[in-house]
């Protein structure tokens, strides 16, 4: 009886520790999401956790003082005298609080602690971030400020235009190379492959300056083509290695019988190898896709921030630089950029994990 109950108790302990860790892990993302759907004024005044029920001062009554009350002398409210400063920060009387509602009109709020939750939600932040139009935002003080959208939808499409070819091209090139390394015999095969293994962890910073000089003289800076090539080269070592592992494990008889039937290497590759390695292709595609989608450094150096080609990560980084305190914009923008990776992650988690286990050292 005792060991059994001990086991149950330890399981309970394990579950609660793990749940606590998971909670801590989730809170940052959750806070971002909640903030992104709150109005700008709310974000700046109250923490996002105030959307949950909590106790806060609520105005239950108002006292209107005579207009000619002198604020420099003690102010009489409900039979007690307070200074102006006290009323500004709020003064507690039993379980009530007195605070200015409007100093000029001499109106004082009488507040009590009550359960409440701030649940104003809107999609305005997303509209502002995505569109290029101007939007009116009401400020905490009652004023209105006009704000120009950041044109993020354009960046979204640019990111797609960068990411999809920068995923397809290296996977194509690497698979062809991996096939040759695995099943064809040619002089230099070993040297070339060992070089690729060595390149697996080379930091890409090492390559940036010379490539940038070449790109400048070739006019490739700030073009999709240039960044496709850069991402292709940086992704090739890992993808080639990964695809080599997958392709070299296919049974030998397969190739022999195909050759007997007179198939060429090209047909074997496109009709036999590619279909047979679909799981491996899926894994490494997800990896490369996410890597390019999330990339900031390569885009920063080779693509730049012209609106025509600017990708999401550049867009957000610029927002952080120029509008660092506009949390309604930043949170919505960050969440938009996360949508695609999260969708890919949840839909294809199995392949993602398999890709991780297959090799994940990248330069």
């Amino acid at each position: 009886m005792r060991p059994h109950s001990r086991k149950r108790k330890s399981k309970w302990l394990v579950n609660s520790i793990l749940a606590l860790i998971c909670f801590v892990w989730l809170v940052p993302t959750f806070g971002l999401f909640v903030s992104s759907i709150r109005p700008a004024a709310d974000i700046m005044q109250t923490g996002w956790w105030k959307v949950f029920p909590h106790r806060a001062w609520q105005t239950v009554d108002q006292v209107e003082l005579p207009k000619e009350t002198d604020l420099r002398t003690p102010i009489l409210v409900q039979g007690e005298a307070y200074s102006d400063n006290q009323l500004r920060t709020g003064v507690n009387v039993e379980n009530e609080r007195l605070i200015w509602e409007n100093r000029r009109a001499r109106i004082i709020n009488v507040q009590q602690k009550e359960w409440t939750a701030i649940t104003n939600f809107s999609t305005l932040n997303y509209e502002t971030v995505l569109g290029g139009k101007s939007y009116k935002i009401s400020l905490p003080g009652g004023g209105v400020k006009t704000e120009k959208g950041t044109g993020m939808s354009r960046s979204f499409w640019n990111t797609l235009a960068v990411t999809i070819p920068a995923t397809v091209i290296p996977i194509f090139i690497a698979s062809f190379a991996a096939y040759a390394f695995a099943w064809l015999r040619f002089p230099g095969r070993r040297t070339l492959f060992v070089t690729i293994i060595a390149l697996l962890v080379v930091p890409l910073q090492v390559a940036l300056i010379p490539i940038l000089r070449d790109y400048t003289s070739l006019g490739l800076n700030g073009t999709y083509f240039g960044i496709w090539l850069a991402h292709t080269a940086f992704g090739l070592p890992l993808i080639t290695y990964f695809m080599y592992n997958a392709i070299s494990q296919l049974p030998k008889d397969l190739f022999e019988s195909a050759f007997m039937d007179g198939a060429t290497n090209f047909t074997i590759f496109s009709r036999l190898i590619l279909p047979l390695t679909v799981p491996a292709l899926a894994s490494i595609s997800i990896f490369q896709f996410l890597w390019v989608w999330n990339d900031y450094l390569v885009a920063l150096i080779f693509l730049g921030s012209l609106p025509d080609v600017q990708v999401l990560s550049m867009n957000i980084a610029n927002l952080v630089g120029s509008r660092g305190n506009d949390w309604h914009l930043l949170t919505a923008a960050a969440f938009i950029s996360m949508l695609m990776p999260l969708a890919v992650f949840f839909a294809l988690q199995k392949y993602f994990v398999r890709g991780l286990l297959g090799g994940s050292v990248k330069g």
Binding site: V202, I209, Y296
Partner: protein
Amino acid sequence: MELQARKNNLIRLLLLTILVPALNIAVHGLIFIFFRDSHLPAILNALLAVIWGAAGIYSIYYSLNWLVEQYPDPWKKRLLPYIFVGPAVVLLGWLLVLPTLRTFYLSFLNYNSEQFVGFSNYVAVFTDRLLVTALRNNLLWVFFGTLACVSLGLLIAILADRSSFERLAKTIIFMPMAISFVAAGVIWKFIYYYQPEQQQIGLLNAIVVAFGGEPQAWLSMVQPWNNLFLIVILVWMQTGFAMVIFSAAIKSVPEEIMEAARIDGAGEIRIFFKIMIPYISGTVLAVTTTIIVFTLKIFDVVMIMTGGQYGTEVVATQFYRQMFMYQNAGYGSTLAIVLLIAVIPVIIVNLRQFRKEGSF
């Protein structure tokens, strides 16, 4: 007669050999110019770019393969492998191997690459105050970042293995890996946010205030601890990676051995250190090196969070600053080479491992 036919064939081959690559270059060059000069709507542009990228690469292989098929048999066999590996080798040569050598060369030249200065850039990197700060911070990143990722990853993997909601827990811990460092930067900047003299809307300061503490500008004022606040972001993102790999490794530890140890009266902690750890030591080493290599090159987080100010500079951000803001190619290249030197042990281990596997 037959000689004539062979001669004709040879000329045809020669023509094709020139024509096919030339056509490829011309067609793709034209498309490139079209894209560079056109101002299409974003969606159309993206769509066309995607089609060009995918179809273009296929057509290049297809046409080159077709060209090789025209050659007589022995040549076909000899040339084909090079068509297959050719593009990969050319791209890697042009965009990785040669640049590495060129960067190495540049690291011995002065800021505008006109004068040979010997090792003085290297001396500067290890003496200049800013650059030394970058090196020190990188060490902090590598040490604390890796330690936290690996130990937390292992802990969570073991807990998850024994819990009743393993899949869900793993998904939650793993999820931050999918998002970008830029987005993660925004998330954590918000958590560390500090408003002087007002209600705190950043989570960390709100917690500090709730426990009666003074709110702080975490990222700028509390040096050098602000580096640790940045490292937390890395841990949040990369622990999932370590956890997934450890989780797979733990499941491969034979249950019989652990059961036998339990029957012999060994406690769970002893089983962990005496059986589990030795069993998965290879995996621990692999995960550790991967995260070290990753942390050495850390750039995005620091760039987004502080831009390298307030003493949070690391080698990669300093590289960017020297190269693109101070226009000092000498220092920039040297910093890149320092990163390369730091990963050389990993390269050697990789190559050894590869030789040992004997798959080649």
